[in-house]
Amino acid sequence: MNATTAKRKLKPADLAIRIGLVVLYFLLLALVYTRGRTHTLLLDNKELDGGRLPAFEDVLVSVNGAEPIELYAEDRDLVTLKGQSHRIVLESAADGRKIEKRITLPIGEDMLLLSLPKLAAGEEGAIEVFVPLDAAPPAEDEALPEELGATEMPAEPAPGAAPSEAPPAQ
């Protein structure tokens, strides 16, 4: 299929098949790219604009019909999602209010933050690009551990202390 055949003249039909194959190749590439593109979505239940959009006291979030995640006020959790269009169902535990929304994620972004209060209020810009805290300084000095088995920073020495720290708020 790809061996050069300089000596032989290509028949138009052959040429068409080859062009077709190349087009098919790029179509396939685009298809698996869009379908397989995975995003990390942070579900953020924090109040915004100084209380204008209050956080849910206790909300159940279900993405694409999956097992709901329970979030209390000021909580944040993350889900990984394949593809761009997703259905999100919010169910407030306090008043039983149920909100169903469809969100579309920009294909080029790896990590996004979804503000639940904003989404519930139906406002624009509920989804924003999230820049990880340590990615802010130039990539040069940031980083993950080297291959030599080096490790990252521990926060504080706790000789003799029990390893389990305070459990998460919930």
Binding site: V32, G36, T38, D110, E142
Partner: protein
């Protein structure tokens, strides 16, 4: 012909398989591993390794021997996987993406490899082996320096902290076993990766079908005698290049299937042993440099890997030291592979001698008969 001669021929024809079966039969009880474990391990390894071994078949049909140059395809597959992880494409789509990225690279590499092998007719195997080392250098340079420097890498977690170069081990969590688990069947204590088996079956059908096509027939003609094929108007060099290109592309897919099952990838070493183990499996399965069939592939994968699974523990239980167990595995594994090569060489020589004797013998008899008249 007498039954005695048949038995002798059977023994010499299947000596390697028999030696392997005998050693395995001795090593399995010594390893004290359970039957369930060994069977499950074989089911997994058939899915994981057979594709790579099947990639070797076409060049053998074309008379080019064992394609050690398949390492090139393996490297292309790894580049594809690096891209898939880099762009965050997960699951089966991630694998398909890796395969699509790897395909043009392996076609190009296969073309280069095939053209060079055409310049080294008769010494394809050692040339292919050396080419593997050469391209390995190019691969390391690309991955260690170009990625992050020239080729943008967006996923910081696969990059060395100095800002360029891919890390020593690539975590393939995002595509891990996505093909195996697409459709896996639970049968009693065993898990069967059906989707992987389907892919293998499709490849086998492709190979059988390909042998019947015009190109496939040409390939076998070239493999049988290049001079005759040339005279018959078959473009010999082109056919040989195509055989290598297909083999390289299949090796690329095979490596992706292998690595998705493994779940992580030694960025700079994963392809080191690829061609070696594939070739070993094929030889152990009773194939030779000249002749190989699809059953050879599966018999070989099972036999070689049974030995790889049981021999470390067997060695350990027999000799009482963990490290001797590990050396025992290498000693037995590589020793038997060497044995298989030697046996084939001897057999080939003996067959040639027999052929010569029969032709000359017949000739002389005929001459004598003619003389008497």
């Amino acid at each position: 012909m007498s039954g005695k001669l048949d038995l002798k021929r059977f023994l010499s024809g299947n000596a390697v398989i028999l030696v392997f079966v005998l050693i395995s039969a001795a090593a399995i009880p010594a390893s004290k591993l359970s039957g369930t474990y060994i069977v499950q391990e074989m089911l997994t390894r058939i899915g994981r390794n057979s594709f790579l071994v099947l990639a070797l078949l076409l060049p053998i049909y074309a008379g080019m021997g064992l394609n050690f140059g398949m390492t090139l395809g393996a490297m292309a597959g790894q580049l594809g996987l690096i891209c898939a992880v880099n762009w965050g494409i997960t699951g089966v789509e991630g694998l398909a993406f890796a395969a699509l990225i790897g395909m043009p690279i392996s076609i190009a590499l296969g073309y280069v490899c095939g053209s060079i092998l055409n310049k080294a007719k008769g010494r394809e195997m050692v040339t292919g082996y050396m080419l593997g080392f050469f391209i390995n250098g190019v691969y390391q340079f690309t991955v260690l320096y170009f990625m992050g420097m020239v080729i943008p890498i967006r996923n910081a977690s696969i990059l060395l902290s100095r800002g360029f170069g891919i890390r020593n081990t690539l975590n393939l969590e995002s595509v891990r076993q996505s093909l195996d688990l697409l459709w896996s069947l639970k049968a009693g204590p065993y898990v069967l990766p059906m989707s992987t088996y389907l892919v293998l079956a499709a490849l086998c059908v492709f190979i059988v079908w390909f042998r019947r096509t015009k190109l496939g027939q040409d390939m076998r003609a070239v493999g049988f005698d290049m001079g005759v094929a040339e005279a018959a108007g078959i473009p010999v060099d082109r056919t040989r290049v195509i055989a290598i290109v297909i083999s390289t592309v299949l090796a690329c897919f095979g490596q992706i299937i292998f690595l998705q099952n493994m779940g992580n990838m030694a960025t700079y070493n994963a392809h080191d042993q690829t061609s070696f183990f594939a070739v070993a499996a094929l030889l152990v399965g009773g194939a030779s440099v000249k002749k190989a069939t699809i059953p050879n592939v599966f018999i070989g994968v099972v036999l070689l890997h049974v030995l790889f699974v049981v021999s470390p523990r067997a060695g350990q239980n027999l000799f009482g030291s963990a490290q001797i167990g590990e050396y025992f595995r290498q000693f037995i594994g590589y020793g038997v592979i060497a044995l298989s090569l030697v046996l084939y060489a001897t057999r080939e020589r003996r067959e040639a001698a027999a052929l010569r004797a029969s032709t000359y013998g017949a000739g002389r008899k005929a001459a004598a008969a003619g003389g008497s008249v």
